[in-house]
Amino acid sequence: MSVPTAGPEDEAARLDGAFRIVVVLALGLLVLTAIRLVVGGDPPLRAGALPNTAPATGPTRSPTSAPVDVEAYLEADVRAAPDIELTGPAGPLSLAAMRGRPVLVFFGYTHCPDVCPATIGTVGLAIDAYAGDAEAVFVSVDPERDTPDWLAEFVRFMPPGFRAVSGTPADVRATADAWGVRYARVETDQPGVYTMAHTADVFVVDRGGTLRARFPFGTDAPTMTAVLAAIDDLPPADASVAPNAPPPTEAPTTALSPVLVSSSVWSGGGSPVIFRLDSAEPAAPIEAVLLGTDGVAVGDPVPVVAVRPEGVAGVSYVATLDIPAPGAWRVELRSAAGVGVVDLTALDPGGSAALGEPAPAAPTATAADVESLTWLTTDPLPDPRLYDTTPADALAAGQPFVFVVDSYRFKVTQQCGQAMVMAKQLLDRWTGVPFIHHEPLRYSVVTTEPVLEGTLENPRLTDVAAAWGVDDGGDDRKSMPWIFVVDRHGTVRAKYYGVIGSADVDVILTQLADEDRTALRPVQDGPLAPLAAPGSAVRVWV
């Protein structure tokens, strides 16, 4: 009503407009009401389509109504797909022998209830819609459980055209490494029950054996089908003479075939890097040299130490590298038998306790200092052994120790709680090594319940956690959980954060035991950690 000079006609028009608004509002109310009546009450049970496997009608992440951006999925460097020579229910399988048909390759494990079945379903739909002769190969990264007999059961639940393969741990690791696939075993809170963390890309190999495309997890089936069809229209590539072939450093360096095992590699010096070799154990000495991504050496070669954890098949190799900056690097291993190169990514350590430096001396409390373990841990089923000593006591006794900074209750990252689970597993295996758990966030205990000070978004670190520098991951990640391994001289020798592979701490403790020439003692009675074979031995510091 801001037009005071309006005449009668204007007034009528304005009133008319007001009524139109009433009508629109009324209709809107009707629609809302209708929706409420239809949807509101019982949970609707539509057999609606899953986003990432939906046919054209579903709410897809890349709607099929829009043309698929095929280029976005194609490999920048056209190269021959790494071969796969593993074993399935029907015997040996060779990817090279499948030439002539497109093949979708992905890695997973059969005890995976979420990501792998979703990928299998999507790939199945894509192959079906492609209506050609495409096949799929599922490579298990869990050879311990996915034996050929078990895979025979599993493939019955897969769509037609699928094959499932596995092999020895070394063969599987080497295959995954050649494809740039990473995986790690992650313990659960049930002894012996574990899951596998793994990268979940789906790769497309064309009829000529060339690696053409990769789909990140969540890519929908119509997109995969469109890319499969587009690849058929591409001119055939002779990968062996492709202009964009990878740097020739990889060709002559297959003698050692190193595979990266470490779940955290750090810049800033003194980072232990664990490898496996997909070959017979080469004669010592082996040395490692850090290379830039351009293949130019950075620094002098360092010795590589062979480590054999008790009860574990295979040899691990540890090189302690000074990596000047975070980011992509390569490591070349050299021995008389040949050389081999592996890619790695170094993390920014930020303000976390530095490798090769004395461990922080912040005093921690033990069970003897508190009336209830609830003051020391939010774990509802705490293992008292994690709270019976301090770093200072361990050092005074001349023992290495493992410092676990993690929270069961206050999960500032999705991995919180997993480091404690792993520590409990390793306790049974390393009875001579103190494992010390520390809750990094301040909390109080109300009756028997831990109550966080502050919020999960803005928690308050304990003085001890701050002293270990876990508040500063160096980039925008929240840095939790952490595991630090400290040798008997009080020097931080290894540290891990986030998704931590079970093998890492085991290998580092074995290396420290070797250095200290510790005694061997049979495993005590009690639950055996899954890493240890029955009847094997543990090292103790005596």
Binding site: L30, G40, G41, P43, R182, Q414, Q415, V499
Partner: protein, 156 residues
Amino acid sequence: MTARRRLTRTTALCVAAVALTLLLVACAAPASSVTAGPTIADAWVRPPMGPGQPAAGYMTITAPSGSADALVGASSPAAGAVEIHETSAGADGMMGMHPVERVELPSGSPVALEPGGYHLMLMDLTGDLTAGDTIELMLEFENSGEVIVRAAIREG
């Protein structure tokens, strides 16, 4: 003011009145079951990939406007145990899976339990899950108590 216009206005008023009445009825009648608890849509369960393997359950849950809630537990007559899990990608690109104690449900915002994210793990299944059938899922909410939904068994 013409007769036609008056008619239009009368119609509009009637429509508004009917709509208001319907809305009030819709809100008032089933208020205890409709507005109190979260709404669950598209509940479905993927059969397990092999004997003895767990199955995964998915759905979209929306807490009503003005009352945030949290999914804190689940069970099913079709499974010995049901856990809430989350698949997440670590800093290194590896996807892993871990149990969670609760899924926060902000007021009015749909939260998807979907492949590659939150999901229910149905373990120790009591029988075969056949595509086309449905099973009951009991969802436990922090504020709204227990809600039972029927989930379709299907591949996906």
